[in-house]
Symmetry: C2
Subunit: 475 residues, 2 copies
């Protein structure tokens, strides 16, 4: 199924289609102007991380890096955008040189990041930017919205796929997503998180994700009788039709399908249940289909599903082969945002990297450019992570194999090529591998277990020293 | 402040920037193919509504219509999009004529809708489409995602503005929105819902919404001392600076500002508190600023705020003049989706409109094209709504003034001109007027009160008749 699609995976890069210079918060640009006027051209290090895991989550699956890197590579300020800023009252005292600077603006920095599909935890840098201060600053808003949203959805998708225990999940959420683009990005992130595919056709065209569809009630209702509607749809889609059976009465519809379109030669791919008691209806539907010799016709279920409901349906013996999940998946309904932040970790002063941190109540950060080390035990299970300074060598913990999670992905503003022929499928495979290697209790839906993330002793020491210095300075 | 911006409100229409034919669910296009092959060219009526109000909401404020109409007017299928569909395994039996049809596709229908900024309730059609069946069907997904998301956010914004009791709210949520486009659309919807403006610069450029910014902690941390950072920012932004004061210690920073930059001639527009006990800190900050003669410097607060927290801060006497609200606003965190649906209400058979409905358990719809009547009493308060068939005359309820909420907004696929010079500001004013006319108990944050929405007796009768007929038919 993939090959014919590949020929139409057109060369439209997602981010190229928008003017994106002003897709940011105003303060990024006012700060840029102030840095510019102060002649502050030094390099800086920023790190993007989720402060802590939200309720009902015991791990994250990272996603969104591809769109983040495309943004960095294509970021420009158009004449319209610069004109808007010039006319903005806040910029009335800003010199023309700054606007000339914006006209020539390119992101020229280096980026390290966790590969998409990596398991991540609170406080761990998912992405690190090292670039001239202004460049590193103005990209904050866009990077956060792109990476935290896709990470949010890939994580939710992983939970739903865990609950389905190997049965297929298809993203059906576009209509309930936070706007059309959110639907597209959610389809992508859901695929990374383990879904089989999506109903979103644009995701098929742009990202080569398998796309699926069934039937709407309106189709059935457009015909005088349900049977006519099924007959018409089967005429056009003889091999791939999934017939929706609950428009008037589910069991009546299934009986009619068995009678009129059944038999061992039947081509009907699936029937879809969308309301009612899915355990009872699916069992009765399976029995009717089997009795009519339609053993290869599968049962697809949808209707406000989530991971808890799917786990419950399966535990109660529902005869369901695949699930369509919409609203809950694409909005991460039970936990609809991640506390993503992008914090200054160091600035260059006289050629030296000087660690930076903030002390604000409850929101203190760790200073310096950091790496995240993942330690795997001899059973190929992840045992703990260590956040350390990049200047530290590989941690040496007896019997555990360390692996650095942040890899170079952009150099001097250019995306570094991937080893993989299909990075999106690689990300999906990676996520699957991560779930296999996380400690088993982390996969429980009720999130009673945590994963150990340690801070290296040098990093703790540096934080303590800088904290004391900052407190002393302000006396 | 508005005039200089208007000159840069460029002529980029939001939807024109994307290829949008495939921004839909696959089943819309498979159904279209089946309708096409059956020669079903009759007209149909679809209605978009929210099935019921979600938790913590006792009204909705509609938004997103402008983007929906732009979509309908500009919807096309590009060669790439058609190529993708042709290569899709599901379409293997579909004739070339259907793809020729897509190449020439235009939306040619008529649309009625509630104006943006209208108060709406569960079951009430917000938008009604009358168009050839295929055209009316394929637009379902995009219309739902556009209108339900902006309505979700305009409603949340209205609640937050009610809690702020006239103090200003600025949308700061772009970074936590569900992707960059969601941030932009949330800024627009927040403005309709009563916010003063947004931090999202693109919303300023495209929609002429006032944009605001302060300072990030990273700016302060990029200087050796906080005082230097403030001095640098004030050099570039002498009249509009909002100084962030919690990077190291809030009260220390405020004292320093008073000492170094204070006095009655001080130009500092505002200080921003972003962490800690905002009641205590704001009172102490106000006292320090006043003592330094800085009575016109206002206090801006942010930091994971929502309507309940704002109401609580103000009830406890916080000396805060304006609030920045992010995550909670742009994700509608406590209720992150609306159950928006788009249902077939009638189809044309032999030139007559035949009402349609579905019976699925718990999800029954009302048949026929409908109008929503809002009844206002002599105190200019809304008293109840009546959902009736469009064929019914104006309801005659003693002492109450009826007004139809669905107005013609598109004819033969062309947007009907608005009376207003600035429709977005008109929508914002309309929302404000709606909140003034809703029954007062509906404005309480705890949502213990409902608003009466009645079904006309003719509509109930028609539903009963059709329901009986459908049940009889399937026996």
């Amino acid at each position: 199924m993939a090959l014919p699609r590949l020929s139409f995976c057109v060369d439209i890069r997602f981010m190229m289609r928008r003017s994106i210079g002003v897709a940011t918060d105003l303060y990024e640009l006012t700060m840029a102007a102030a840095y510019f006027e102060q002649g502050m051209t030094q390099r800086a290090v920023f790190e993007l991380f989720i402060r802590s895991l939200p309720q009902n989550r015991s791990f994250l699956i990272t996603a969104g890096l591809d769109q983040a890197l495309e943004y960095l590579e294509s970021l420009r300020f158009t004449a319209d955008e610069i004109g808007y800023l010039k006319s903005h009252p806040a910029f009335e005292n800003i010199s023309g040189e700054f606007f000339e600077y914006l006209r020539e603006f390119r992101f020229t920095g280096d980026v390290w990041a966790m590969a998409e599909g990596t398991a991540a935890f609170g406080m761990e840098p998912i992405l690190r930017v090292e670039a001239p201060l202004i460049e590193a600053q103005v990209v904050e808003t866009y990077l956060l919205s792109t990476i935290t949203f896709q990470t949010l959805i890939a994580t939710k998708a992983a939970r739903i796929n865990i609950a389905a225990g190997g049965k297929d999940i298809v993203d059906f959420g576009t209509r309930r997503a936070h706007g059309p683009e959110a639907g597209l990005l959610a389809a992508r992130a859901s695929y990374i998180g383990g879904c089989l595919g999506t109903s979103n056709v644009e995701a098929g065209l742009l990202f080569n994700i398998p796309t699926f569809g069934t039937l709407a009630h309106s189709f059935i209702m457009s015909f005088e009788a349900e049977e006519e509607a099924f007959r018409a749809f089967l005429a056009s889609f003889p091999h791939s039709a999934t017939l929706l059976v609950d428009t008037y009465d589910t069991i009546n519809a299934v009986e009619m399908i068995c009678e009129k379109f059944g038999g061992p030669e039947s081509n009907i791919a699936a029937v879809r249940l969308d309301s009612g008691d899915l355990v009872d209806l699916s069992k009765r539907t399976r029995a009717l289909l089997d009795a009519a010799g339609m053993t290869s016709t599968t049962i697809f279920a949808s209707g406000d599903l989530n991971e808890e409901k799917i786990a419950d349906l399966l535990a109660r013996g529902a005869a369901i082969d695949a699930f369509g999940v919409g609203t809950e998946l694409v909005t991460s309904y039970d936990s609809p945002a991640l506390g993503g932040v992008y914090k200054l970790a160091a600035t260059e002063v006289n050629g030296l990297a000087v660690p930076r941190m903030k002390l604000s109540g409850g929101k203190t950060t760790y200073p310096g450019a950091k790496q995240v080390w993942r330690l795997t035990n001899q059973h190929e299970e992840y045992e703990r992570d260590i956040i350390a300074l990049t200047s530290e060598s590989e941690p040496d913990v007896g019997g555990l194999r360390p692996r650095p999670l942040l890899e170079p992905v952009m150099k001097d503003g250019r995306i570094q090529g991937s080893d993989s022929a299909n990075p999106l499928i690689a990300a999906r495979e990676r996520a699957k591998g991560e779930l296999a290697r996380l400690p088993k209790p982390l996969l429980e839906l009720d999130c009673k277990h945590g994963y150990p993330v340690m801070i290296s002793s040098l990093l703790e020491k540096k934080r303590g020293e800088l904290s004391e210095k900052l407190i002393a300075n302000r006396m």
